[in-house]
């Protein structure tokens, strides 16, 4: 199921890739995007610690944009 959804998204991206795309958000329009409150990973070690807690407490892993290491969670 997850792979099927990912394939669909990849196909949509492929279709988009060949259209004449021009950046619709110009560099000078990215002031808000560059604000620190718009960061997915504002403080890396604080975020990775919380992912470590989730990994230790839950069976799910990955899909969170974090790089992996040995958990030693057993």
């Amino acid at each position: 199921m997850i792979l099927r959804r990912l394939t669909l998204l990849a196909l949509l991206f492929c279709i988009a890739a060949c259209s004449p795309i021009k950046p619709w958000v110009k560099p000078y329009e990215r002031q808000k995007i560059a604000d620190e409150i718009m960061s997915f990973e504002r403080d890396p070690i604080a975020d990775s610690y919380l992912h470590h807690v989730y990994d230790a407490r839950e069976a799910a892993r990955g899909g969170d944009g974090a790089s992996g290491g040995g958990c030693g969670c057993n």
Partner: protein, 401 residues
């Protein structure tokens, strides 16, 4: 008689040529899209102290990160992290005795910037008295369409050695592989989105059928005895585990200076576990110095095919588990956080400094894991379901230079 196959072959060849042309056009489109150069991550130092307290387990310790650029194209980072564990968890209370241990982790990583691409290399090593882990990782990111889109591919190779304190001869080799795909997109002037897909494979090496490496070697399952009570036998897990996880995240800049972030993830693995989680986070700056965060997350999972709280008899099936992390459960997490920007100039040498405190509260309700701490009060299998509450805090200082 041979005309038809020849015609069919020609059609196939034309189709193949057309497909090849389209793939080439697609690749050309991707790699010639105008874009600006990517950037290296910030140079910074973070000093963090973390704490976890819940379910009879206390874990705390420091974590230190130093990230520095070397020239205009290289960024290196080193992280040292410690977990000091004191455990009287429900497993320990019902099947063993309280213990303390320490886990140390060190990592070194580097990024190399080439035009619109970033190449990453990393190493993570962790050690505790009964578990050693080493992970090497490699990744490449490329930005497209004027930096509106960034795609990344990554792979990591891990080799773990699982030990057991009570048996010095116990040693199990575990091989881990992780393949990642990431995409992030500037959708509008106010909206960022990202997608992450990870496929993970764990494989025990050189084990007999009776041996196992993917479980906690101290944990047992319980089974009914003929007298109506219960007894314990060792867990036995499959030698492999494959899992896929797909996560999507988005951050939206509100009409005033604040952001709201949403996250959803779906997970499934070869052990029959399906899980999903959703998170909502609100970030609100106050004046120039303060940043407040409120967060709510829900998570739920189904149990592994071979999990049971109580097996009907000994050796009831080929694989046996009673790890509450493999049981069906749901959890809620509520979090609060505050960041204070230390006025510039107060701490010399640094361009910017912050002091941060973040607290998360976990409430986990297990649907098929029973609390056995009062065995005389309940009949076997009628014990109350277990639930766990945990407080997690992170207190840290960050410095940019």
């Amino acid at each position: 008689m041979r005309a038809k196959p020849r015609a069919a072959a020609m059609v196939h060849r034309e189709v193949a040529v057309a497909v090849t042309k389209r793939v080439l056009i697609l690749l050309l489109c991707l790699f010639t899209a105008s874009a600006q150069a990517a950037v290296l991550p910030d140079e910074r130092v973070d000093v963090l102290y973390h704490g976890y307290d819940g379910g009879g387990v206390q874990v705390d310790g420091p974590s230190i990160l130093v990230r520095k650029n070397v020239g205009p194209s290289v960024s290196v980072a080193a992280n040292y992290y410690v977990d000091m564990v004191s455990s009287a968890s429900i497993d320990v209370v019902t099947q063993g005795s309280k213990y303390s241990e320490e886990r140390k982790e060190a990592s070194l990583s580097g990024k190399y910037l080439i035009d619109r691409s970033t190449i990453s290399l990393g190493y993570v090593g962790s050690k505790e008295n009964d578990y050693d882990a080493k992970t090497f990782s490699f990744g490449i990111d490329q930005s497209f369409f004027g930096d509106l889109t960034t795609l990344g591919l990554g792979v990591s190779f891990g080799d773990d050695v699982v030990g057991q304190n009570t048996d010095p001869t116990f040693s199990r080799d575990l091989q881990r592989r992780k393949y990642s795909f990431n995409a992030s997109q500037i959708v509008t002037k106010n909206l960022l989105a990202s997608l992450s897909f990870d496929s993970v494979n764990d494989q025990c090496l050189d084990l007999t059928e009776e041996q196992t490496c993917l479980n906690n070697p101290y944990r047992s399952v319980r089974y009914m005895t003929e007298s109506g009570g219960y007894s314990y036998q060792a867990e036995l897990y499959p030698h492999t585990r494959n899992s896929d996880a797909l996560g999507i995240r988005a951050i939206y800049y509100l009409p005033y200076r604040a952001s709201i972030r949403a996250e959803a993830r779906q997970f499934s693995d070869s052990w029959g576990i399906d899980a999903d989680n959703f998170e909502l986070r609100y970030l609100h700056p106050y004046r120039e110095q303060w940043l407040f965060e409120v967060k709510y997350r829900i998570y739920s999972q189904t149990g592994a095919d071979f999990y049971a709280d109580l097996f009907p008899y000994k050796d009831a099936q080929n694989y046996l588990a009673r790890d509450k992390e493999l049981s069906p459960f749901s959890s809620n997490t509520f979090g609060l956080g505050v960041t204070y920007k230390i006025p510039a100039g107060l701490i010399p040498w640094f361009d910017k400094s912050t002091a941060n405190f973040y607290w998360d509260r976990f409430d986990i309700d297990y649907d098929d894991f029973r609390d056995l701490r009062s065995p005389d009060e309940y009949a076997t299998g009628d014990e109350p379901l277990y639930s766990l509450q945990a407080n997690v805090f992170r207190i840290y200082l960050s410095f940019w230079y």
